[in-house]
């Protein structure tokens, strides 16, 4: 019953005119950038973050969330129609989605993806609503050692998302943690690593770092790759699947949703791994596996459901524990902090209308996306024909304006340029920036909990092992690390990342 009350509060918040409008804008923008090649949700969110300052926190978060799942929908549209995964989570959709399109079934593939995503999104939203409360109450009982251990799990988990060497990804996490310590130490008031620069006293500007490392470095990479827009845009015929299609689609959607829901909970699990796992499962359980890669509808239904379920579920760690599990969630956490809301279990009790409003808006957003995507698919395809040479100058300028307006200081623009250089270096050295950014966000929190735990135990490191919950988390982190380093999984990760690997 309590849950129903909460959901009622959520819907009444999310259904206000203003919040509906921002959810719509978010979904629209998300779809747009999902369709536009070379512009991801992270860059877009960091560009728009400053613009959300003037909004109420609830509206701001609703809009940012809309961008996130909107991009998932848009990304699959391009994957199916032009063989270009707009987002990394749609990489496997290309395999069968585009094959379906080539066989004149583009419309059916799009409907399959949309229906699957919608169903998975609905289930995901319900799961968040059901689990948020119990999880948060558990989290409230956590002390410093538990939190520290939990963050270790989160950071190790973020490595799953990184392609390439596990060692390099861990090094990036540690580098990020160190960068997070720049600025005033909250406990002693000492200014650290600021090099007497006044602008660094409050720490590195997260938006500037993200924009440089993702936004600017990505533009350089895209321009170097050259000619990124595919030529064969498929025509969309009928949108309606046949009875036979529905019959084959449903089990795949159910399995995909299940896989996404389970894998989405794990830190770093994320949409990419879920969609890949779902594809492999579908191929295994299918009676005619030879159809896969030749336009099997299950190959679209499963992964598309899985990535959307996982995208929704990945909100759970951020909303209930305050620990972002991927870079988009880190942006959301950053947005909360800019509105002076500390992400964590207390959000639910202190800002219930924000918490439940956001959850309700996810479902509303999924409805909007269903409506936005299918009938308007012709318009979205049109955007694909915009040449990148007209887009990237706009992205550069928007990035500059966005980063300036965070603190109204020109210094941050230079900071973004600096991180652009660094990000380009990362690209060339094949260092994944996402784990570093998670480290950057978690650095101060991790240090605080680490030091407080040691004060509690009077300097005994045993506190991390003697506390049962903390010990469990650390063991989990260790297992995760071993699994990640195992050769079998590495091969699978290589397959997953091969398609999106920039040189």
């Amino acid at each position: 019953m309590e849950l129903l009350n909460h959901l009622a509060l959520g819907f009444s918040t999310a259904l206000s005119m203003q919040n509906l409008l921002y959810a719509f804008i978010g979904c629209l923008l998300g779809t747009l950038i999902g369709v536009l090649p070379g512009l991801g949700p992270v860059a877009t969110m960091s560009m728009l973050l400053p613009a959300t300052f003037t909004l109420q926190p609830t509206a701001a978060l609703i809009m940012l969330a809309g961008i996130y799942y909107g991009a998932q929908y848009g990304g699959s549209t391009t994957a199916i129609l032009v063989k270009l995964p707009g987002e990394s989570s749609s990489v496997v959709t290309v395999l069968d989605g585009h094959e379906m399109a080539r066989r004149g079934r583009a419309g059916i593939a799009l409907t399959t993806a949309a229906v699957g995503s919608f169903f998975a999104g609905t289930v995901g939203t319900l799961v968040i609503a059901a689990f948020a409360l119990p999880l948060a109450s558990v989290a409230l009982s956590f002390g410093p050692p538990e939190y520290f251990a939990l963050m270790v799990v989160g950071l190790i988990g973020s490595i799953v998302l990184a392609s390439g060497s596990v060692l390099k990804a861990i090094a990036m996490v540690v580098l990020g943690l160190s960068l997070g310590l720049v600025g005033t130490d909250t406990q002693s008031g000492v200014e650290r690593f600021t090099f007497d620069t006044e602008e660094l006293v409050d720490g590195l500007n997260f938006v500037a770092v993200t924009m440089g490392v993702f936004g600017l470095a990505e533009i350089i990479a895209n321009l170097e790759k050259h000619g990124s827009v595919g030529s064969e845009i498929t025509r969309v015929s009928t949108l309606f699947p046949t009875r036979e299609d529905w019959r084959r689609m449903w089990p795949a959607i159910l399995r995909g949703t299940g896989i996404g829901t389970v894998l989405g909970i794990f830190p770093g699990g994320g949409p990419v791994i879920s969609s890949l796992t779902s594809y492999l499962v579908e191929r295994r359980v299918s009676k005619n596996p030879e159809e896969f890669g030749k336009g099997a509808i299950e190959g679209v239904a499963g992964p598309e459901s899985a990535n959307n379920a996982a995208a929704q579920i990945s909100f759970i760690p951020m909303l209930t524990l305050g620990i972002p599990s991927n870079i988009v969630m880190a942006m959301m956490a950053g947005a909360m902090m800019m509105h002076s809301i500390q992400p964590g279990p207390q959000v639910m009790t202190r800002n219930p209308e924000l918490f439940w409003g956001l959850i309700a808006s996810m479902w509303i957003g999924n409805v909007m996306l269903l409506v936005l995507n299918l009938p308007l698919v012709g318009i979205w395809v049109r955007f694909l024909t915009i040449p990148y040479r007209f887009l990237y100058p706009a992205i550069i300028v928007f990035c500059c304006i966005g980063v300036y307006s965070v603190n109204n200081t020109v210094f941050d623009i230079f900071q973004a340029a600096f991180w652009g250089v660094v990000g380009y270096g990362f690209l060339k050295l094949k260092l994944e920036p996402a784990p570093m950014l998670l480290g950057l966000i978690l650095g101060p929190m991790m240090e605080e909990n680490f030091r407080r735990a040691l004060v509690l135990s009077r300097g005994d490191f045993g506190i991390f092992v003697s506390t049962p919950v903390a010990c469990t988390f650390l063991v989990l982190a260790a297992i995760l690390l071993v699994v990640l380093a195992s050769p079998a999984l590495r091969k699978k990760r290589e397959v997953a990342f091969r398609e999106e690997d920039p040189a």
Partner: protein
């Protein structure tokens, strides 16, 4: 691509992964620098740790990881060694406008700065003609003026200082 790859990176037959070796050594250097700098703050015992405690050990950890990465890289070869290329033109064409925008924004205002940045950024892509860049710059300056300054109402200098003085 009219740019020629500027750097002659190793042939595919190389026995070590140079890319990872460089990365590993960079981590060693960075880690050492972090640990060294952290020493200038109070490190203290674990029971009463100071501002330098956490960064000091993070720095050491980074050094260790860097050594490990370099070591592993010395026995593995880089499957993509041949794909290593640099395009200074693209690099400069994207980052220079950002720096210039930062320099011009306060004295020259948003509209002019955006115009200049877009013009400069056209250098990054050989496909952009001068006329195309002019058109793009003009359109974007208007979008920026209307979208950011008027609709979103972001606090930002819009017009050149000189112009404002002169109009007064």
């Amino acid at each position: 691509m009219t740019d020629t790859p500027a750097s002659g990176e190793p042939r595919g037959g190389s026995r070590t992964n140079i890319r990872d070796q460089i990365a590993g050594m960079l981590f060693v250097l960075l880690g050492a620098a972090i640990a060294y700098k952290a020493r200038s703050y109070t490190v203290g015992p674990p029971s009463n740790s100071g501002a330098g405690f956490f960064p000091f050990y993070l720095g050491l950890l980074l050094v260790g990881l860097g050594v490990a990465i370099t070591a592993v890289a010395s026995f593995k070869h880089d499957p993509d060694a041949e794909r290593f290329s640099m395009h200074p033109r693209t690099f400069l064409g994207v980052l220079l406008p950002v720096v210039i925008f930062g320099i011009t924004l306060v004295p020259a205002g948003l509209v002019l700065s955006a115009f200049i940045a877009v013009m400069l950024s056209s250098y990054a892509s050989p496909e952009v003609t001068f006329r195309g860049a002019l058109l793009n710059a003009a359109v974007l300056s208007v979008i920026v003026l209307v979208g950011f300054a008027m609709i979103l109402g972001i606090q930002i200098p819009v017009w050149p200082n000189v112009l404002i003085e002169w109009l007064r």
